[in-house]
C-alpha cells in the first residue's frame, strides 16, 4: 500500500471496518470486562496474525496471533527472554532497528498493515508511540522543549501559540502540568524519576498517537511514583490503546484490562503466547497450567 494511503487512513482515525471486526472475532480473544470509564476518543485496534520474530537465525517469538483492543490496557507478562518486549517492539517497527532482525506475519492497525510495502516506519512510530523502561528525557533541553521535541521531529510547522497549547495539553494529559507549569524553561534533568517518566509520556502523547507502547515504564520508579503512573495509564486509555510490558504482576493485575502471558518452553526455544484474556480471568482462573504457575509465582 502506498505510504500516503496508510498515513491518510491512520490520520483520519476511521472507525473499524466490518472486516476488522471480523478479524477481532476470529482471534478468539475473550472480550475483556466492560470498562465503566468514559472513552474520550475512540482509539485503534492492533491485530497481530501469525507473527514470528527473528534476530538473524534466532527465532525469538513464534506464531503470535492476538487482537489488542482499542481504549484498553493490554499487559504483556512473562519471564525474561520470553519475547514480550521483542513483540512489543514489533508493534511500532522498532524491532527491525536491530541489525539482522526481521518480522514474518502481519501486524495491522485498524486493518492497515504496518509492514506493507511503502509504509514509512517513522510514520508508524508517530502513530504508535513508545515509553521506555528508564525515563529518557533530553537532559539539556528544558521541560517545554522536551514535550515539543516530538512535534519538531515530526516536522510539523507550528505557531508558538499552537505549540504552547499542545505542550500544556500534553503535560496535563500526563498529570504533570501543575508540578512544572512555573518552570517550563528549566532543564528536564531537574525533575524526579517519576516526573521524568511522566514527561516522557507527555512527549509521547504530544503527537497524538493512536497507540502507546510502554516497556516496563515503572521499573526505575519508587512505589508512589509507580502508582501515579498506573493512575495515569488508566486515564490515558480513554484516548489511546495501551500495551504495557511489565515484570510486576501486581501492576498487570492493577492497571490492565487484558493480560497476555508469554512463555518459552525451554532456553533457546522461541517465546510464544500461552494465553490472553481479561485480566480478571488470568488472575483468578487462568485456562493454562503454565499461566497459573507463572502468575502465582510457583516457578521462577
Amino acid at each position: 500500500m502506498p505510504q500516503t494511503q496508510i498515513e491518510e487512513s491512520i490520520e483520519n482515525a476511521t472507525p473499524q471496518t466490518p472486516e476488522v471486526r471480523l478479524e477481532t472475532e476470529v482471534a478468539e480473544v475473550p472480550p475483556p470486562a466492560p470498562t465503566t470509564e468514559e472513552v474520550e476518543r475512540p482509539a485503534k485496534t492492533v491485530t497481530a496474525r501469525n507473527v514470528n520474530l527473528f534476530y538473524g537465525d534466532f527465532h525469538a517469538v513464534e506464531d503470535v496471533t492476538m487482537t489488542i483492543e482499542p481504549n484498553k490496557v493490554t499487559a504483556l507478562i512473562g519471564s525474561s527472554g520470553c519475547g514480550k518486549t521483542t513483540f512489543l517492539r514489533s508493534l511500532n517497527r522498532m524491532h527491525e532497528l536491530t541489525p539482522g532482525a526481521r518480522v514474518e506475519g502481519e501486524i495491522a492497525i485498524d486493518g492497515q498493515s504496518i509492514y506493507a510495502e511503502g509504509v514509512d516506519p517513522v510514520q508508524v512510530r508517530r502513530v504508535v508511540g513508545m515509553v521506555f523502561q528508564a525515563p529518557n528525557p533530553f537532559p539539556t533541553m528544558s521541560i517545554y522543549e522536551n514535550v515539543a521535541a516530538g512535534l519538531t521531529l515530526n516536522a510539523r510547522r507550528m505557531r508558538k501559540a499552537e505549540k504552547d497549547e499542545v505542550v500544556e495539553r500534553s503535560l496535563r494529559g500526563a498529570h504533570l502540568w501543575d508540578e512544572v507549569k512555573d518552570r517550563l524553561d528549566k532543564p528536564a534533568s531537574g525533575l524526579s524519576g517519576g516526573q521524568q517518566q511522566r514527561l516522557c509520556i507527555a512527549r509521547a502523547i504530544a503527537v497524538e498517537p493512536e497507540v502507546l507502547l510502554m516497556d516496563e515504564p515503572c521499573s526505575a520508579l519508587d512505589p508512589i511514583a509507580t502508582l501515579a503512573i498506573e493512575d495515569l495509564i488508566r486515564e490515558l486509555k480513554k484516548r489511546y490503546t495501551i500495551v504495557i510490558v511489565t515484570h510486576n504482576m501486581q501492576q498487570a493485575a492493577r492497571a490492565s484490562d487484558v493480560t497476555a502471558f508469554f512463555n518459552l518452553e525451554e532456553a533457546g526455544k522461541p517465546g510464544r503466547l500461552v494465553e490472553v484474556g481479561p485480566t480478571e480471568k488470568i488472575f483468578t482462573s487462568p485456562t493454562e497450567q503454565a499461566t497459573e504457575d507463572y502468575v502465582s509465582g510457583r516457578f521462577g
Binding site: 504482576m249 501486581q250 493485575a253 512463555n263 488470568i282 488472575f283 483468578t284 482462573s285 487462568p286 503454565a290 499461566t291 497459573e292 504457575d293 502468575v295 502465582s296 509465582g297 510457583r298 516457578f299 521462577g300
Partner: protein, 233 residues
Amino acid sequence: MGEPTRVEYHAELRDLEEHALEGLDLVVDALDRTLEATRNQDAELAQAVVEGDDALDGRYLEVHQRLLTLIAREAPVAGDLRLISALLHVMKSMERMGDQCVNVAKMIPIAGSDPPADERMLENIAAMGLQVRSQVSQAKRAFADRDVGLARDLVRQDDIVDALNRECFQIAIEIGDEPDRREWAMTMILVARALERIGDNSVDIGEQVAYVVTGLFREFDDASHPGAAGAAG
C-alpha cells in the same frame, strides 16, 4: 520454568488448608457428642458441647487471621486465590455448624428428662444426625481430594436430611393437643432444624470445592430451590 519459588508461602497455604479441614473433624466430634447427649437426654454432656464450641471458634479465628495475613502479604492469585476464598467460606460454615451443635445442646435440658413423647421423632433425629455427620466427613474428603463429583453428591445426600426433616415436622403436627407433648415436639423441631442446617452447610462446602477446581462459583442446583428444603426448612 526453573526451580519452585515461594516455598514458604505455599507451605503455609498447605498447612492452613490442613488446619481448616481439621476444623471439620472438630465438627464431627461435636456432632457425635451432641447426638449422644440427645439420645441419652444427657444435660451434662450437652453442657460440654456448649463449652467445647470455644475450640471451634478459636480455630475459626486463627485460620481466618492467617488467611488474611496471606492475602495482605503474598497477594495470592489464580488457584491460590480461589483456595483462600474457599477456605474462608469453609471456616465460616465450620463455625456455623459448631453453633448448630450448641443450639441442639441447649435444647436438651429444655426437652427434660421424661421419656420421649414420640419414639419415631427421636429415631428420625438420630438418622438425621448420622446423615449430616457423614455429609460433613464427605465434604471434607471432597475438598481435600478436589473431588467435584463427591462434592456434587452432597446435594443428593442432603435430600435425605430434608426428607427426614419434613417427617419430623409432620410428626410434630400429629402429636396431639397435650401441652407437654407439643412443647417437646416443638423442641425437637428446633433440633431437627439445626441438623438440617448442618446438612446445608456441608453442601455449601461442596460448592466451594467446585469453585476451587473449576473457577466457576454456582450454587448446586437443588440446594437453593425452596422446594427441596421442605416444609420446615
